[in-house]
Symmetry: C2
Subunit: 192 residues, 2 copies
DNA sequence: AAAGAATGAGACGGTCATGTCTCATTCGGT
DNA sequence: ACCGAATGAGACATGACCGTCTCATTCTTT
């Protein structure tokens, strides 16, 4: 019975292909299947054997990105300690996924088929819950809606990933830059 | 001599076409020339008569967006008063251009022809100068580079425009949401 | 070594958007 | 009313990409 073996190999390939695809598509969202296949070191035929089509590939990438981001949330332990610390941890953990996330966001708009992955709602809910917790604990300001804070989080994460990719921000500074700007804003303040 | 008249009409059409094109392309960056033409109320042939091709249309859109953003900067009087106030004014003035700007950013990546419009550098310079002024006047924190603040500004502006378009943030709150988050951050602070 | 699965290479047809062209029509100025 | 410019409608060729297929080759397993 070679099922388990072949499935295992396919899984490995799948992971690798998705990684390469993400790297290319975040840079240029119109990358062709041929380029993706070549970057992944496989032929276009094999790529089509693993993913029914470009659509399916994007969907798989979406699933993968959602799962990675969910894992980042797990690793950040959003419910532990104060909300600010949790947010800092989340930024650090989510940074590697930022590029894919940004791509999926803009791409989701392209999919006007209406079938949005339910995973997004779960992620949004967890993120919104974090902001709301910070507000309820008196740590975060309440004049900015948690929905907007969620959007802003994604926006800054994407902008940061892009800035690093363009060489305008050092990767080492990224966590600090994003988290500090989000938490403290631009203005200099004496306390806190 | 009917030159002046015809040129005038073409200019009017051009403006209108660019507006419609911007509206469509910000929503879906792969909108076809046909759709753009129909939205602008002209035929595809006429669209091609005004703009040499899709490429030229995007370039014209870029020029238009850059000029609008430059005008927003003028209107915001970046050099007047304290930097925070100037930033607030800029957010307010730049909000209508946010969607186009966001589109042009992601699209510029698609143009890997290397020929980036020099106008971007001028905008970046003015924006960076504002942040630097705030830092030098002791108003803005100095542990975040002005380059990063510039990127973050674009990122938040784009995220805000998107959030409004998706109905997650009220348009009336947008200026306040962006400016306040940028200036003060998420955290609640007693002073300032 | 043999059998079977997976892969690579490439051909093929189909779709879609683009860019160019022509021709009839309409609009505007004189 | 007339004439020229601008437009609309549509045909046409081109090119890119996609999805599918076949066939030879390579590897994996037994």
């Amino acid at each position: 019975m070679s099922h388990s073996v072949s499935l295992c190999l396919m899984a490995v390939d799948r992971e690798h292909v998705l990684t390469e695809a993400a790297a290319l598509l975040t840079r240029r969202s119109t990358t062709s299947m041929d380029e993706i296949a070549r970057a992944a070191g496989i032929s276009r035929a094999t790529l089509h054997r693993h993913f029914a089509g470009r659509d399916a590939l994007i969907r798989a990438l979406e699933e993968h990105g959602i799962e990675r981001f969910a894992r980042a949330m797990d690793a950040a332990r959003l419910d532990d300690g104060d909300a600010a610390g949790a947010l800092r941890r989340l930024v650090r953990e989510a940074e590697p996924v930022a590029g894919v996330l940004a791509f999926l966001f803009t791409e989701n708009q392209l999919f006007e088929s209406g079938t949005v992955n339910a995973g997004w709602a779960r992620l949004d809910a967890r993120l919104t819950a974090l902001f709301r917790r910070g507000q309820e604990e008196g740590d975060f300001r309440v004049d900015l809606s948690s929905a907007w804070l969620t959007e802003a989080f994604y926006g800054l994460l994407g902008a940061g990933a892009w800035a690093v990719h363009e060489g305008r921000v050092a990767r080492n500074d990224l966590d600090h830059s994003i988290a500090e700007l989000l938490l403290g804003g631009i203005r200099r303040s004496m306390e806190k």
